[in-house]
């Protein structure tokens, strides 16, 4: 199984998944944070943070998932009160109404949490809501394979940054 590791995130990809862990180039006045994309289909070069440009390419047996980090100012906020990533989802956690972009037949789920002192959201899309019984276990295998390292210390501390 392929191993991905960058920016304090790591994943041992389950069979059939590909992925990327990246940080977008910093724009003026903004600080970009790590994003991880995972998919069971070929990911296009340009995919928006939450799957724009990718979810339209999904077949009924496909999965797309995002692990998106927010800035450290979000730590402690109510939205990120859940401690630790949800590692096991059920078919009932996926609903067509949870999609950021409502595409016919698909369904999604989204969770906000804090793990290793870092605030995240995990968002997953199933290619077919009707096939969630088959697809959700594959999402769970991906969740089980993700790991998050604590945030790096400040540059002044002299600690080595990620990577």
């Amino acid at each position: 199984m392929a191993m991905l590791r960058a920016h304090g995130l790591a994943a041992t990809l389950p069979e059939g998944f590909e992925g990327r862990i990246f940080v977008r180039p910093h724009l003026e006045g903004e600080i970009a944070h790590p994003v991880a994309h995972f998919a069971t289909f070929p990911l296009p070069q340009e995919v928006a943070d939450f799957g724009g440009g990718a979810v339209t390419l999904m077949g009924p047996n496909d999965i797309f998932a995002v692990l998106f980090e927010y800035g450290p100012e979000s730590v402690g906020k109510e939205l990120f009160a859940r401690q630790g990533m949800q590692r096991s989802l059920s078919a009932g956690d996926f609903r067509p109404t949870l999609l950021r972009r409502g595409l016919g037949g698909q369904s999604g789920t989204q969770w906000f949490f804090t793990e290793a002192g870092r605030p995240f959201t995990f968002y997953a899309v199933l290619g077919s809501h009707a096939r969630r019984g088959v697809l959700v276990p594959r999402v769970n295998s991906l969740l089980a394979a993700l790991s998050v390292s604590p945030p790096p210390l400040s540059p002044n501390s002299g600690a080595a940054p990620w990577n």
Partner: protein
């Protein structure tokens, strides 16, 4: 006369010493090979262990055959069918893993180096992806060696947002790449490499990819043949293919087996390939795999 005899005696003695030295050197090499477990014959037959002591039981490792390989594996030694996931880092330091199987996409993997002179033309061509001439729907992936063996800065200077580059030394091993440049075409549906080799210019690669698309797509990637899908090879696959052909009425002598021109092989929109003095996908190439 006496002087001649003395000279000859001296020469014979000298040669004798040389031969004895060579034999001693040879014996040392054999002993070292035995100690490594790659000796010729069974060292236990001499009743000595690895340290030269006599004994009833030989504790030294049993002499085994160790393949002695110089350079990349030869075609006959290669597991040329598998198409594992390629995982590594981008020139910018992000992590990237590309799965080339499990979907019906054809992926062209270009194994390139930043320093090889032959690769320079390919890097130039890759700066204009719209002019590469690849059929629509082909996924292009450039794989260099990892940052420990390749200059990330050099590779980054050749990268652009429309070019997917992974730096992964493991991928070079997984795909048994003999050197750069080297190209592999993977059929995602069957999870197999269907073509690989070297080329001088990218248009040669594109032409071969176009041919592969014509070969593969009309029949659906997943339905090429039962023998192919089952991973059969040699006479078994030939027999399985014959059975499939007979089942659909294509028997020996059938006219479809004897095309009269390239147009019969590459019909409709795909033009017959142009003759070229150079030989694409040659040295070390297998051409079509599987």
């Amino acid at each position: 006369m006496v002087a001649l005899v003395l000279v000859l005696t001296f020469v014979v003695l000298l040669l004798g010493i040389l031969v004895a030295g060579l034999l001693r050197s040879h014996a040392d090499i054999l002993k070292a090979l035995h100690d490594l477990g790659a000796g010729v014959g069974d060292p236990s037959a001499s009743g000595r262990d690895a340290h030269g002591h006599h004994g009833g039981v030989d504790p030294s490792p049993r002499a085994v055959h160790v393949p002695f390989t110089l350079g990349p594996p030869l075609p006959g030694e290669r597991d040329s069918a598998s198409a594992p996931t390629i995982a590594g880092v981008t020139p910018g330091g992000d992590a990237l893993a590309i799965t080339v199987s499990g979907h019906d996409t054809l992926t062209l993997i270009a194994f390139l180096s930043s320093g090889c002179s032959t690769c320079a033309g390919f890097w130039d061509a890759l700066q204009r992806p719209q002019e590469l001439g690849l059929p629509e729907g082909i996924r292009l992936l450039v794989v260099t060696k990892g940052p420990e063996l390749e200059s990330a800065a050099e590779v980054r200077s050749k990268a652009h947002e429309r070019l997917e580059i992974i730096m992964s030394t493991d991928a070079w091993g997984d795909y048994e790449v003999p050197g750069s440049p080297f190209f592999v075409l993977v059929d995602g549906a069957s999870a197999r490499r269907i073509g690989e080799g070297v080329a001088n210019h990218f248009n040669q690669v594109a032409e071969l990819v176009r041919r592969a698309v014509v070969d593969v797509r009309p029949f659906g990637l997943g339905s090429r043949s039962k023998g192919f899908a089952d991973g059969l090879d040699g006479p078994e696959r030939e027999t399985a293919n014959d059975e499939e052909l007979l089942a659909v009425g294509i028997h020996p002598g059938h006219r479809s087996l004897y095309p009269r021109s390239l147009a019969d092989v590459f019909p409709s929109e795909s033009p017959a390939p142009q003759e070229d003095d150079s030989e694409p996908w040659t040295a070390g190439s297998i051409g079509k795999v599987g």
